[in-house]
């Protein structure tokens, strides 16, 4: 591969890390729901799509709000949506006999959300002009502004989550609920309220991901499909259930993808991500950052 050496390796690393942080943010999100409800949320792809549509379609385009106001409105709207979904769908699913039922329920929820987005905002892909569209250049390497916001957002969110769970009463309550719902209930913690809060928190997180992916992926019903699956891979590789693990896993998958395209034809990029995940699942299911399981 003579062509490889004169390629800008820095560019590979920059894009790899940037994309990696998107996967990291996604895996942080569903780790949140998994820790809180013990339920794997297959619907988080649709949460991201909904966040993007709410931001791009409703707030930015039809209401014409300035971007940053639109961001705040979207996050609040997603929080409310999270509570709604949690009470109507996720809670009843949570105490089903077999985990397979709950997973199946979230899959159907995902299709319903994506289908209704198509019906409400129409099937044509669109984007928000002028919102984080440009990029910055360091030497011959470029990075999109949107990527920088994603990196900043994921670091802030992971740090905030750590502080929230370690110091605030509500945060500790959520950890108790995630580890043992019955015991938590006995301690007087309102389990349902705590789970609603967790789902709302992760819905807001998905809203943020949707917003910052708009300039990168453009808004369409399938925008988050591959990113969501790679978010799963990142979670597994990084160490399931640990937030720092999600970041490590995300960056690793992002880098491997970029360097994978150097070796194989680009269409095999996704195969690389899934292949790495399957290897990790077999060799080291607990992932890189060993999770101290209770």
């Amino acid at each position: 591969m003579g062509a490889v050496n004169n390629m800008n390796l820095m560019q590979f690393i920059a894009t790899g890390v940037a994309m990696g942080f998107i996967y990291a943010l996604i895996s942080t999100e569903y780790t949140l729901i998994y820790n809180a409800t013990g339920l794997v949320n297959f619907a988080h792809e649709s949460f991201i799509v909904l966040g993007a549509y709410l931001f791009g379609g409703t707030f930015a385009r039809s209401l014409g709000l300035p971007p940053w106001l639109a961001v705040i409105c979207t996050v609040i709207a997603m929080g409310a949506f999270g509570v709604l979904v949690s009470t109507i769908v996720l809670n009843p699913l949570r105490n089903l006999q077999f985990i397979t039922y709950a997973m199946f329920g979230t899959m159907m929820l995902s299709r319903i959300i994506i289908e209704s987005s198509r019906l409400v905002w129409g099937p044509l892909p669109f984007t928000v002009q002028g919102f984080l569209r440009d990029s910055i250049k360091i030497g011959s390497t470029f990075l999109f502004k949107a990527h920088l916001y994603i990196i900043a957002a994921s670091i802030i969110i992971v740090v905030a989550l750590q502080i929230f769970f370690r110091t605030t009463k509500m945060g500790k309550a959520m950890i108790c609920v995630s580890q043992n719902k019955d015991a938590a209930a006995l301690m007087g913690i309102n389990v349902t309220r705590s789970i609603n809060l967790t789902v709302a928190l992760s819905a807001m997180l998905c809203g943020v991901i949707g917003i910052f992916c708009t300039p990168l992926f453009n808004i369409s019903t399938g925008m988050a499909a591959s990113a969501a699956l790679k978010g799963f891979c990142a979670g597994v590789v990084g160490g399931f259930g640990s937030y720092p693990g999600a970041i490590v896993g995300g960056i690793l998958i992002g880098l491997l993808e970029q360097f994978g395209t150097m070796l194989f034809p680009t269409a095999y990029k996704d195969v690389v991500a899934f292949g790495v995940m399957v290897i990790f699942l077999l060799v080291r299911p607990s992932g890189i950052v060993k999770v101290k399981k209770a």
Binding site: I99, E115, F274, M277
Partner: protein, 324 residues
């Protein structure tokens, strides 16, 4: 053959006759839905061994089907085998997939396993899309030969219904013999309480791999019939969404039961077609029905119907008791 079995046998024959009669009177559109129903039944019966009985989430069903379909296509067209020998090669394909997916199922549980199976399905689809010389890539693989039954040469798609029906009935009989036997019980024991099963001498690893192999052989057979019926394969038809549909069939029909699988296959295949008159909204309606069923009917429709029959039977016997 006590009275209970006779009743069951009559039920099956009645269902079969109704199916064939409905098929013959239907127009070519409804006939195509029937044919889709047949290979869906085979797939769900296979999936039932893993997710239904052994309780392990499998989202790679469509990957198994794709492997079976492409192997059958390549064997009959590129390698020039006769369709029947290719069909029996499906057992080997199923065996291989069973081993590949079986081993991870020993070490991984629930969500992790479903991820491995999703990975398996996606890798199969991506390879089918990019290995153009072998699978024709996104241009698809065409002119796949159909099974011929001595003089019976199925020309149109609907003629293939009868051959597929033979295999579906065979699949139902074999599934019935496995599910309602010591094997079915052993699988369910693993699902309900693995430690207790192991402590009473059940080799859990062997049985888990066996369940995966059974499901893979069923899926490979289904794939071969799917390839024969459509005579054309395209990777775009093997996405994760279809694996989710098979889980939907299992859940709605009735997890772990053979009539439940068939009922689930009928509902999930026919419902979208019936709701087509809602044009733009039919897909949302279908998904809402599925999620409502998942929440309200955790064990699925068949146990409900079964209980109705049983109660009906009891009240009839009660009535006859009073009369005679």
């Amino acid at each position: 053959m006590n009275k209970k079995n006779a009743l069951y046998l009559a039920g099956w024959i009645l269902w079969l006759v109704a199916l064939v009669l409905a098929f013959r009177t239907a127009n070519s559109y409804v006939q195509s839905v029937f044919c889709m129903l047949l290979y869906n039944i085979i797939l769900v019966l296979g999936l039932n061994f893993i997710t239904g009985l052994t309780g392990q989430m499998n989202l790679g069903t469509i990957g198994m089907l794709a492997l079976g379909a492409y192997t059958y296509g390549i064997l009959t067209v590129t390698a020039g085998w006769s369709p029947w020998t290719a069909l029996f090669a499906m057992v080997a394909v199923g065996y291989a997939i069973g081993k590949v997916l079986g081993y991870p199922s020993l070490r991984l549980k629930g969500f992790y396993l479903s991820l491995t199976t999703i990975g398996f399905g996606e890798i199969v689809r991506l390879l089918a899309m990019n290995l153009e010389s072998l699978t024709g890539g996104t241009m698809g693989f065409s002119k796949i030969k159909r099974l011929e039954f001595f003089a019976y040469k199925p020309e149109n798609r609907s003629d293939y219904f009868y051959i597929m029906l033979i295999f579906t009935v065979l699949a139902i009989i074999v599934a019935n013999r496995i599910v309602y036997s010591k094997w079915g019980r052993a699988y369910k024991a693993i699902r309900d309480n693995a430690e207790a099963a192991e402590a009473s001498g059940i080799d859990i690893s062997k049985l888990k791999i066996q369940a995966f192999t059974l499901a893979a052989i069923y899926a490979a057979f289904g794939g071969a019939l799917y390839a024969g019926y459509n005579r054309y394969l395209n990777p775009s038809g093997f996405t994760l969404e279809y694996s989710q549909n098979y889980i939907a069939m299992l859940m709605i029909g009735g997890i772990g039961t053979v009539p439940g699988c068939i009922l689930g296959a009928i509902i999930v295949t026919a419902l979208p077609e019936l709701l087509r008159s809602f044009a733009n909204y039919y897909w949302i309606l279908f998904c809402t029905v599925c999620i409502v069923m998942a929440i309200l009917l955790p064990e699925g429709l068949w146990p409900l119907i079964h209980r109705l029959f049983a109660r009906l039977g009891k009240s009839l016997r009660g009535l006859r008791g009073k009369v005679s």
